[in-house]
């Protein structure tokens, strides 16, 4: 009597997305091979990674653009062991928070060219960019970060730098 129906329910959301002025500046920078952060004139912290263009602590516009190096330190990371639909990287792989030199908040990115078990907090990494001709205003323009071949940074000091009251 009862029918157990199977239905497909495609949920499709079509956005016309604008990242806004702050994130656009960051993405345009990537297109030119630069990582642009911005400094708050009140707390002097440098934000990077496509923030809102305002300091989350002081609520003021962060208008001073700061060019950052493409080298930084892994502050925390996660080893992905579970495959999922749409994945483009072979498992296991590492996704990490990277505090670029001169920045006060970390960026999230993929770590490659190293075995997952060798990744550690404090590891120094460098961006691997797409060839110049292929760069677009997207985070994908940095393909991943890879070991920079430098000694590890003192992790406690690195983590202290990220504290809101530092």
């Amino acid at each position: 009597m009862a029918e157990n129906m199977i239905v497909t329910m495609p949920i499709r959301l079509e956005y016309d997305y604008s990242p806004g002025a702050g994130r656009s500046r960051f993405l345009r920078g990537l297109e030119r091979g630069k990582i642009l952060g911005e400094r708050c004139h009140v707390c002097h912290k440098v934000y990077v990674g496509g923030g809102s263009g305002a300091c989350p602590r002081d609520g003021v516009p962060t208008e001073e653009v700061v060019e950052l190096p493409d080298v930084g330190t892994i502050t925390t990371f996660c080893v992905v062991n579970v495959p999922f639909a749409g994945a483009t990287v072979e498992i296991p792989y590492v996704s990490a928070s990277i505090l670029l030199d001169g920045a006060d908040i970390p960026l999230m990115h993929l770590i490659q060219e190293v075995n997952a078990e060798d990744v550690r907090m404090g590891m120094r990494v460098r961006a691997e960019w797409l060839p110049e001709a292929e760069r677009i205003p997207s985070m994908d323009t940095i393909k991943y970060f890879k070991p920079a071949g430098e000694p590890d940074a003192p992790i406690d000091e690195v983590l202290k730098r990220m504290r809101a009251d530092a």
Binding site: E3, M5, V7, M9, R12, P19, R25
Partner: protein
Amino acid sequence: MAADEVLRAPHVLEYAYTRSVGPVIGRFFAGLRDGKIEGIKGARGQVIVPPVEYDPQTAEELSEFVDVGDSGVVTTWAWVNEPRKNNPLQKPFAWALIKLDGADTPMLHVVDAGSESRMQTGMRVRARWRAERDGRIQDIECFEVP
């Protein structure tokens, strides 16, 4: 292109879910395919449309299906002047709660009234069925003034 120009891009988010609707809604959908609307009798004897698996007050399992009419009364409504792409009608219409004849709860559907001035709480409406039905809520194209 200016370096400070604000970017803009299409962004599509899509989830293709496949799911079972369960025995009760499954039967409700099968009924729609056959051109009839079924509710279910609740613990206090009230008729709930669309049917639910468990009584909303007592949580007891429900199983007594009841045929209800395909006409009813609008209990509340909201007029849509500019239909969106995925809306059921591509002309101005009303989303409405409709208490079908024989039901004690109203069901959400669409009323094609032509204009907002013809909408009224308490108005009677009747289902406009699609000729080709396959067991989904859209088997009722909309409700209309009889």
